[in-house]
């Protein structure tokens, strides 16, 4: 009896021991973190901090001294309409990519949901572009989409007459084409997130629905899509925010053309930096950073709210 009491006492105190003697400290001395911190400071924190300093200087290729000049660079880049134009293009591009990648990602996930051999192959095939170089993707599609490229040749074969649609030559539609190419590159990732979400849906809910006589459309609309809310949050937020920072695909595909109609902000920044106006280009990238922050908070807040409402 006594023994029993003792053992129960020792059992009740046992869970506290990790708090009294923090295991982590013994096993991982704090300085183990130093290399990682050094890496983060040098390659992330410093450049970000510098990006808050350089826009307020007169740094350019034309002279060697760097002086503080206040908000001159901002006045410069906001003065002509180019920045607003590029910002608008960037937003349109990001929204298009967010829509396309979620619609196509979900469609692919639903199509390839069941674990058959064909579906597993399909998933791998659609994921493959994610692993490709973004620049290579852009250049390959440039070759496919040019006036005498493969797409027009294929269409001509079907139509029985020459087709010379300028897929990359329209001031209005080329941005949509570019967004589709960007989506093609990344849709495999969205598909995987949706697949993971679908796998997490309890089968008993779906079985109960089918016993109650729900059609496939009803169980998709009323059960699967609401339960996929976290996957939507992740896909929309990462899609929208990473596309705001996109550069590679569109640079290789159109270089910002025709007539700057696909010139996203990063291409504009790149061009401004290349012309030697370093302060102005860092001012633009600070503007982009602020835009991303300003968009990220409400978008993620809204999607989180939606998740709670749906669950």
């Amino acid at each position: 009896m006594t023994t029993l009491t003792r053992s129960s006492t020792s059992a009740s105190t046992a869970p506290q021991s990790p708090r009294r003697v923090p295991r982590g400290r013994n096993r991982h001395p704090w300085w183990f973190l130093l290399p990682a911190f050094a890496f983060i400071i040098v390659f992330f924190a410093l450049p970000v901090a510098a990006n808050f300093v350089f826009p307020f200087t007169n740094w350019s290729t034309f002279h060697s001294d760097i002086r503080f000049v206040g908000f001159d660079s901002f006045a410069d880049v906001l003065g002509d309409g180019s920045l607003a134009n590029s910002l608008r293009t960037t937003l349109v591009y990001a929204v298009l990519v967010a829509i396309f990648s979620n619609v196509f990602g979900l469609a692919l996930a639903l199509l390839l949901e069941r674990d058959t051999r064909v579906n597993r192959f399909g998933r791998a095939a659609f994921f493959l572009p994610v692993l490709m170089s973004a620049l290579a993707t852009g250049y390959v599609f440039q070759a496919i989409l040019k006036a005498d490229g493969a797409l027009n040749s294929a269409l001509a074969l079907l139509a029985g007459q020459p087709v010379d649609i300028e897929w990359l030559g329209s001031m209005d539609w080329t941005i949509v084409v570019a967004a589709l190419v960007h989506t093609w590159k990344w849709v495999g990732m969205n598909m995987l997130i949706f697949l993971a979400g679908l796998k997490n849906i309890p089968t008993d809910s779906l079985e109960a629905a089918s016993i109650d006589g729900a059609s496939r459309w009803q169980s998709l609309r009323l059960i699967k899509i609401p339960l996929l809310a976290p996957a939507f949050t992740f896909n929309i937020a990462t899609g929208l925010l990473s596309t705001l920072n996109s550069f590679d695909v569109i640079q290789a595909l159109t270089g910002g053309g025709p007539a700057r109609s696909t010139e996203v902000l990063n291409i504009f920044i790149f061009r401004t930096f290349g012309s030697g106006l370093y302060a102005q280009s860092t001012a633009m990238s600070l503007v982009l950073f602020l835009v991303v922050v300003v968009l990220a908070i409400p978008v993620i807040g809204f999607l989180r709210g939606r998740e709670r409402a749906m669950s």
Partner: protein, 438 residues
């Protein structure tokens, strides 16, 4: 910690890393003999993609002669932008291909960064035109390795014959008339322009300004006495884009066509005429024989009222030598340039098929006629051309005229809007450079 570091960086004063090693203005340099031994000395030479193979032969010969090592680093296109970005990080070559017009020398702070090349042993060997190039404020910074050229019209000889055009046009109006004849003769694209690549558009635009350039427009621009937005400029730019305006006068894919398309179209006869520089013939030389090019491609310079060619030079025409702070390497760089432009020069132009710019050295055989005609001397002899300066040569900076004019051809801007945008950028760059009056 990070904000503190950045604050410290700025409070202690900082400077552009690309000019850290800039020292006192150099005294007149000594010019080592070309065969001075240089064992263990390493030189770095930056090239563009288009000039990557140009120094291969001379570098190998120099290595063998002196024991030095010459590392060739290819900077990806857009060369000028990416090289400047590389320089901004503090990287510095011993030598690099660079356009040595004033506007472009300004972007790398020539007087602080570059070795003056005055008194170079090859200087007296150059022809008079080339002696005047690569100069800023009376100091030579550029080692000219290739002849400048004049912009002009490259045309398909067979199409001209088919259209019955026996004499080349002598004015902008005659140019338009020739295009009409080509159209009437069934040529698919009397003009073939490449607004997809954007940069080729600058040639036609600059040629349309040739008479203004001769009247000192760029000098006035530099002192804010003239502007791209002036009616005289806009009228000429409009006259240029009007050439393409009528249906069937220019290629149907003008908005997306590229430089590579232009070469193919000129050879196939799809194109009648193209505003260009000799880069177009260089491109064709990769794929066609000398005979094929000479049978197909002709050249003439053009200006609004005559045949005055607008001069053009780029990174392929010259090199600059950096002040690295390492005297051994600086001297080795001068020695390398001397070797290149004296002992090795005949072999070099033979290798590359370049027109000679040294009267004592004959040009090699096998140069296309259009290339010979498009040198300033060739154009003067054959067409009575008086070469005029381009924007790059005389303006203090280089706004994106080509980009704005490409937008006109793509229907996004009017010539007036393109001129205004060009002027706004010119002023922005002038302000950044601290030029008085802006």
């Amino acid at each position: 910690m990070t904000p503190l570091f950045v604050a410290a960086l700025f409070l202690t004063g900082c400077s552009d890393p690309s000019v850290e090693a800039a020292a006192e203005p150099a005294s007149p340099a000594d010019w080592p003999a070309v065969d001075t031994p240089l064992d263990g000395v390493e030189l770095t030479l930056w090239t563009a993609e288009s000039t990557a193979s140009v120094p291969a032969g001379v570098a190998a010969a120099f290595e063998e002669l002196t024991g030095a090592t010459v590392n060739l680093t290819v900077v990806p296109d857009q060369y000028e932008a990416n090289a400047k970005t590389k320089l901004a990080t503090g990287a510095k070559p011993d030598l690099m291909f660079w356009e040595t017009n004033v506007s472009v020398l300004n972007t790398i702070q020539a007087e602080e960064n570059l070795q003056p090349l005055d008194g170079a042993p090859w200087f007296e060997l150059l022809d008079a035109d080339s002696q005047r190039l690569g100069v800023k404020d009376d100091v030579h910074y550029g080692a000219i390795i290739k002849s400048y050229e004049v912009m002009g019209v490259y045309y398909n000889l067979n199409n001209f014959e088919k259209a019955g055009i026996t004499d080349v046009p002598h004015s902008w109006d005659e140019l338009a008339a020739a295009a009409q004849k080509l159209k009437d003769a069934g040529v698919e694209a009397p003009f073939y322009e490449a607004a997809g690549d954007q940069w080729p558009v600058q040639w036609g635009a600059q040629m349309s300004l040739a008479d203004l350039s001769a009247d000192g427009f760029y000098g006035d621009l530099n002192t804010a006495q003239a502007s791209f937005s002036d009616a005289a400029v806009v009228d000429r730019l409009t006259a240029f884009t009007d050439l393409y305006a009528e249906d069937g006068m220019a290629n149907s894919n003008i908005k997306t066509a590229t430089f590579a398309d232009q070469g193919a179209a000129l050879m196939s006869g799809e194109a009648g005429m193209e505003f260009h520089v000799n880069a177009i013939v260089d491109q064709l030389s990769q794929a066609y024989s000398l005979e094929e090019i000479d049978e197909t491609v002709g050249f003439f310079p053009i200006s609004p009222e005559g045949n005055n060619g607008t001069m053009s030079g780029g990174q392929a025409n010259s090199l600059v030598a950096y002040r690295t702070g390492d005297e051994t390497r600086e001297a080795a760089a001068r020695q390398f340039l001397t070797f290149w432009l004296t002992d090795y020069y005949p072999t070099f132009i033979e290798e590359m098929g370049y027109v000679s710019i040294q009267p004592a050295v004959a040009s090699p055989a096998g140069i296309p006629q259009a290339t010979l005609d498009s040198t300033p001397a060739g154009a003067a002899e054959k067409f009575g051309s008086t070469a005029v300066a381009s924007m790059q040569m005389e303006a203090i900076n280089n706004p994106d005229l080509y980009l704005n004019m490409a937008e006109v051809l793509q229907g996004a801007k009017t010539p007036q809007e393109a001129a205004d945008a060009t002027q706004a950028q010119f002023e922005q760059l002038a302000r950044a450079a601290g030029v008085a009056g802006f």
